[in-house]
């Protein structure tokens, strides 16, 4: 599964994307954030306050309680500030 990071999430983790294979217990987007936060200091810093992190599965906005299912691409980022 490809994981992408944008803006300060990307800066804190120190990379823009990576290929990861989360364990079976990771069912929802929130589970994935918790699992990522345990992968090291830079990840726990990035996912320090998971409430403010937004997520997209296969390029569609999703809520934290959404099941990951067979997602190919999951992105994490701060609230958008375009326009």
């Amino acid at each position: 599964m490809k994981i992408l990071y944008f803006a300060w999430v990307r800066e804190r983790i120190g990379k823009a994307d990576e290929e990861l294979d989360p364990p079976a217990g990771v069912v929802t987007v929130a589970d994935l954030m918790r699992w990522l936060a345990g992968r090291g200091e830079e990840y726990s810093y990035a996912f320090d306050n998971p409430k403010v992190i937004r997520a997209a599965i296969d390029r569609l906005h999703v809520r934290a309680d959404t099941a990951i299912g067979s997602a190919r691409e999951i992105a994490f980022f701060p609230p958008m500030t375009g326009g």
Binding site: F6, H61, P78, P79, M80, T81, G82, G83
Partner: protein
């Protein structure tokens, strides 16, 4: 409908011309241009750098244009969003809506801007004297976007 993400400066004239060429059914055109201001929260800035999620942004904007086309009687819509480093005074975003009657064009342009501000995957970083900081999302923008959903919640994420 046209959606483009580009670093290059915008050409509003060419875009309006492309939308209206050879047509006599359009009675109203609204354009919105968002410009990089020289200060943010009262302090001067050197530039803005816009990061974006390319594959998602284009599809996301296209979906919102389709939603606008369902809600209002539109005869043409163009959205162009720039990314990369943008200096004060330069344009960031251009929305053009065309319709027979003005209400549709106005409402659709406001709707699209509210959505671009809160849902399109772009992030602004402010550059001040060489160091960068990320712009915080504004709750006023969320409230503006919420106007368009019946429940006041963010229907697109549910």
């Amino acid at each position: 409908m046209a959606v483009r993400l580009q670093h290059e400066p915008l050409d509003a004239v060419a875009e309006v011309a492309a939308l209206t060429r050879g047509r006599t059914d359009i009675g109203a055109i609204v354009t919105f241009t968002g410009i990089c201001r020289g200060s943010e929260d009262g302090a001067p800035i050197t530039a803005l750098t816009l990061e974006h999620y390319p594959d998602m942004a284009e599809a996301e904007i296209a979906r919102h244009i389709e939603e606008a086309e369902r809600r209002w009687a539109l005869l043409g819509v163009t959205v162009i969003h720039r990314y990369g480093r943008i200096a004060p005074g330069e344009e960031i975003v251009l929305v053009i809506t065309a319709s027979s009657h003005r209400q549709d064009a106005f409402a659709a342009a406001e709707f699209l801007m509210d959505y671009l501000k809160t849902r399109a995957p772009f992030w602004k970083q402010v550059e001040r004297a060489g160091h960068g900081s990320w712009v915080d999302a504004k709750s006023a923008d969320d409230q503006a976007a919420d106007r368009w959903t019946a429940t006041g919640h963010d229907a697109a994420a549910e």
